[in-house]
């Protein structure tokens, strides 16, 4: 079986890979590119642990074929911090203890960052609905929502 050659940009780096047709973007990120920060919680788009950004939009990477990524721009959790400087959301998640086991955390951070880029002043309800596709079983979401709201307030205050 001949594999498909894909050229793409991941976290600002030009990247290319070979993939089978039936491999998902998540398979390639995790198994071929060692970007294991995106997690597989369900494989059916129901948990959000594999959330990445493709051309500016949130996507479950388990529901996108790797072959579809040709020419696209992809952002994963690994690209969120700038060197040793955490993104404000990452910092707030630590300060608010917004994670327990941490398996859902990468997907939630990627999704929350995308929200704040679109809506710097979300209501609690908007945050909750935006993140409804990111399951967390440990926290009851309370501290996660607070961390996102606090990041938004801080960012507005700094602007």
């Amino acid at each position: 079986m001949s594999r498909i050659h894909v050229t793409t940009t991941i976290n600002n780096d030009e990247t290319d890979y070979l993939c089978e047709t039936d491999e998902t973007l998540l398979d390639v990120l995790r198994d071929h590119l060692d970007l294991t920060g995106s997690k597989e919680g369900c494989g059916s788009g129901d948990c959000g642990a594999c959330t990445v950004v493709v051309d500016g939009r949130l996507v479950c990477s388990c529901l996108m074929l790797a072959a579809e990524a040709e020419g696209r721009t992809i952002e994963t959790i690994e690209g969120m911090a700038g060197g040793d400087a955490l993104h404000p959301l990452q910092q707030k998640f630590l300060e608010h203890a917004a994670l327990q086991c941490g398996i859902c955390t990468p997907g939630i951070l990627v999704a929350a960052k995308n929200l704040l880029e679109r809506n710097p002043n979300p209501s609690e309800e908007e945050v909750r609905y935006w993140l409804a596709g990111n399951l967390c079983r440990c926290t009851g979401y309370d501290k996660i929502i607070r961390a996102v709201m606090d990041t938004a307030a801080n960012t507005r205050g700094a602007a």
Binding site: G37, K39, A97, L131, G140, Y141
Partner: protein, 747 residues
């Protein structure tokens, strides 16, 4: 007073809210979970599972699978040539790989290892299994009846009376006094039957491991588990290996809640690795997690409670029937012990039946047995309060267990915190906040034991005076932070001078799994004692340097001090200074402690919740939620709050939407997060945690376990809230919209 008894003190580190040490790795995606590592030459494993609820396996033809290029091993039960003598081990083996019969939809029947995931999938599809489908039973009440399909004969314990199916494997009874006499003294007696559905722990990380195993019996296993020592011991016991030859390393763990206190597939990974001679990575899909790893039991319960007009419970009785899945075991005895545990009762009897069915082997789930123990009891108490026009908090306070109460399961309580949670609930603004139309407020109490168990901790003082702490319990919700805090507290050093790691099974002695809310209590206790051990050594080193008696040295603020004027005048020696000359004073400095930490303190909680019921659709919305729980001492309050909130959220799911749904064919119909509906962010309100601290007399800092109690009250608290909002008593969980609407229309 022995040093491990509680002593009141002013804390410097304990009780603060520092950032967790594993935090940066977890917010940047670097943390390595079960599925996140690879090995050179690694193969991909996959498991074939029975599509039938109950079937005899007449034969398995693997020849076509073996012929596929890239397939390096195909195994069935025949490859497991070692037959464990211990019946628990034999059951685990049979559950990992079916023997004569497949006992439930999802039961493993064969496995492969191949050079890619897609080849492994193709190989599974090429395996031909000849099944003879057998009659099945998935409902607990049906399974108990004589004549029900029997899952396995000969497993009934001596304590089961005649007249039940052999599926009933065990029975236990608790209580004291005479409930029938008690009912006679009551002004009102209510008897009701309840049902709860099986619910899954729902951890977001599916099971995953990476195994190697040589023909010499030496192996390594990387696995997400709540207890890597347990995994080692079970894998060795199931495969006939020497435990010492198998090293197990715990990955970061993506949730467990009890579901990762068991072995579901690791022996299969090891067997594939041995047969193929290569490392094998084996991961479950979400579908496999639901079908083949234990949900908790479903239950069927009868409760009868009598109460006087002024709210005194005079008699109480309950019968719990819990289905344990396809193997003996079960947790009905825990329901029977926990149901009435919050109350001081003269007449109480409970009975629990353990029942086998054609469902996956039931697993522990956060305070196993206690939620379905409390739900029927707390529901009937609420109904009694409604009918007798009593305040439900007052009535509970009137009957509340306190120090000196003989508990419903036998022992007399030491200092406990139930009253404190009830009083905190009464004085909280939530209790008196106004309610709108179609809204109701429910309260309920809950109890859990908390455990200790085998624990080892090693604490090394490094040459620069920093501290490395090794413990053996996977960190599921911030325990490395708590251990570092307790070590820093005890040593008197800044928190950033301590780093805690989870050691593998070859690096530290046996540790009980991360369960029973034991870690902060037991590992914390061992950490404190290991630190005290290191302090003793450092005092000796300082004494040697000063030329005085070690008894004349005090330890405070991270330094040795002469104990008093008679000890001599020496400037304090800090941990750094002592560490720097350790080679000159006798060698490296390390403290350690190994203990079976028994005597954990029980804990109680009271939950309060407001819901609104849509009278036209039966939909339930949770509006406000407050948790009042005794933590003994909150070492890291953020993570104590997190346990309160997380337990409440899981309880909300259990109460409203989560359930295992089986078809008439005995197959699981909702093996995915789409139709197994755990709460999403937009389903929940903020969950307010109120931490109470009634010190556990058996821990130096007063710590009690906090992880499990929080899932005990929600089922009843929400049922009570919904029943009050809807004006009709709901007696079956989950209270999904069709059930609520049907109840409303029946009214």
């Amino acid at each position: 007073m022995p040093k491990d008894e509680y002593q009141s003190r002013d804390f410097k580190v304990v009780g603060t809210r520092p950032i967790r040490p594993d935090g940066i790795d977890k917010v940047t995606g670097k943390a390595r979970y079960g599925a996140d590592i690879t090995a050179p030459g690694m193969l991909w494993g996959a498991i074939l599972r029975s599509p039938h609820a109950h079937a005899r396996i007449r034969g398995i033809d693997t020849s076509k699978a073996r012929a596929i290029k890239g397939v390096k091993a195909v195994i069935t039960r025949d490859d497991f040539t070692y037959q464990p003598e211990d019946s628990d081990m034999a059951d685990i083996l049979d559950n990992c790989m079916a023997g004569e019969t497949a006992r439930y939809d999802g039961h493993a029947v064969a496995a492969v290892a191949a050079t890619s995931k897609s080849i492994a999938r193709a190989a599974l599809a090429a395996i031909e299994v000849d099944y003879e489908v057998l009659p099945h039973v998935t409902d607990v009440d049906e399974a108990m009846k004589p004549g029900a399909p029997v899952i396995e004969s000969g497993r009934q314990q001596e304590n089961v009376p005649k007249g039940y199916s052999e599926n009933v494997t065990g029975r236990s009874q608790y209580g004291h006094g005479d409930p029938e006499e008690g009912f006679k003294q009551a002004d009102l007696v209510i008897k009701r039957s309840f049902k709860t559905a099986a619910t899954h722990q729902g951890y977001i990380e599916p099971h995953a491991c990476l195994a190697t195993l040589g023909s010499d019996g030496q192996g390594d296993l990387w696995v997400c588990t709540q207890g890597h020592y347990m995994v080692r011991n079970v894998c060795a016991g199931v495969l006939g290996l020497d435990a010492g030859q198998l090293r197990v390393t715990a990955s970061e763990i993506g949730g467990g809640f009890g579901g990762k206190t068991h072995v579901w597939m690791e022996p299969t990974a090891l067997m594939l690795a041995r047969k193929s001679g290569k490392p094998v990575k084996l991961m479950m899909s979400r579908d496999e997690v639901f079908r083949a790893t234990g949900p908790t039991a479903s239950s069927s319960v009868d409760v009868k409670i009598g109460m006087t007009k002024d709210g005194k419970i005079t008699g109480a009785a309950a019968t719990y029937r819990l289905q344990a899945g396809a193997y003996p075991g079960g947790i009905a005895f825990l329901s029977a012990m926990c149901g009435f545990a919050p109350y001081d009762l003269e007449n109480v009897r409970t009975e629990g039946f353990e029942v086998m069915t054609n469902r996956p082997k039931a697993a522990a789930y956060r305070a196993p047995g206690a939620p379905m123990g409390a739900y029927p009891v707390e529901s009937v108490i609420d109904e009694l309060c409604q009918k007798l026009d009593l305040d439900p908090l007052d009535a509970r306070l009137k009957n509340a267990a306190r120090e000196g109460t003989k508990s419903s399961y036998g022992p007399t309580y030491p200092a406990i915190g139930l009253e404190a949670t009830l009083k905190a609930a009464q004085s909280h603004p939530h209790w008196t906040a106004p309610l709108g139309p179609n809204q109701g407020r429910g309260v309920a109490c809950g109890f859990w034991f908390n455990f200790g168990g085998d624990t080892c901790v090693s604490l090394m003082v490094n040459p620069d005076g920093t501290v490395s702490l090794s413990e053996g319990n996977p960190d599921i919700g911030g325990s490395r932070a708590s251990m570092s805090m307790m070590a820093a507290e005890e040593l008197g050093v800044p928190l950033d001078q301590v780093r805690t790691i989870i050691a593998d099974t070859a690096s530290l002695g046996q540790n009980e799994v991360t369960d029973g809310s034991r870690v902060t209590f037991a590992v914390g206790l061992a950490t404190i004692k290991a630190a005290r051990h290191a302090v003793e050594i450092m005092k000796e080193r300082a004494a040697m340097t000063w030329g005085i008696d070690p008894e004349a040295v005090d330890w405070r603020d991270g330094a040795a001090h002469p104990a008093g004027p008679n000890a001599g005048k020496f400037p304090p020696m800090t941990i750094k200074e002592i560490a720097a000359i350790a080679s000159n004073t006798g060698g490296p400095i390390a403290g350690h402690h190994e203990v079976n930490a028994e005597g954990a303190g029980v804990s109680f909680a009271t939950h309060m919740v407001d819901t609104e019921v849509d009278p036209e659709t039966g939909a339930v919305k949770v509006l406000r939620y407050t948790v009042f729980q005794d933590a003994g001492k909150a070492v890291h309050p953020d993570y104590v709050e997190g346990q309160f909130q997380g337990g409440a959220a899981q309880g909300i799911g259990w109460a409203i939407n989560e359930e295992y749904i089986y078809g008439d064919d005995g197959r699981l119909q909702n093996a995915g997060f789409l139709d197994y509906r755990i709460p999403v962010a937009s389903d929940l309100p903020m969950i307010e945690p109120v931490i109470l601290e009634i010190p556990n007399p058996g821990h130096p800092y007063g710590v009690r376990g906090v992880g499990e109690t929080s899932i005990v009250p929600p089922l009843a608290a929400i049922a009570n809230s919904v029943s009050r909002a809807a004006g009709v008593r709901l007696t079956s969980l989950p209270m999904s919209p069709p059930k609520v609407l049907a109840a409303l229309k029946a009214e």
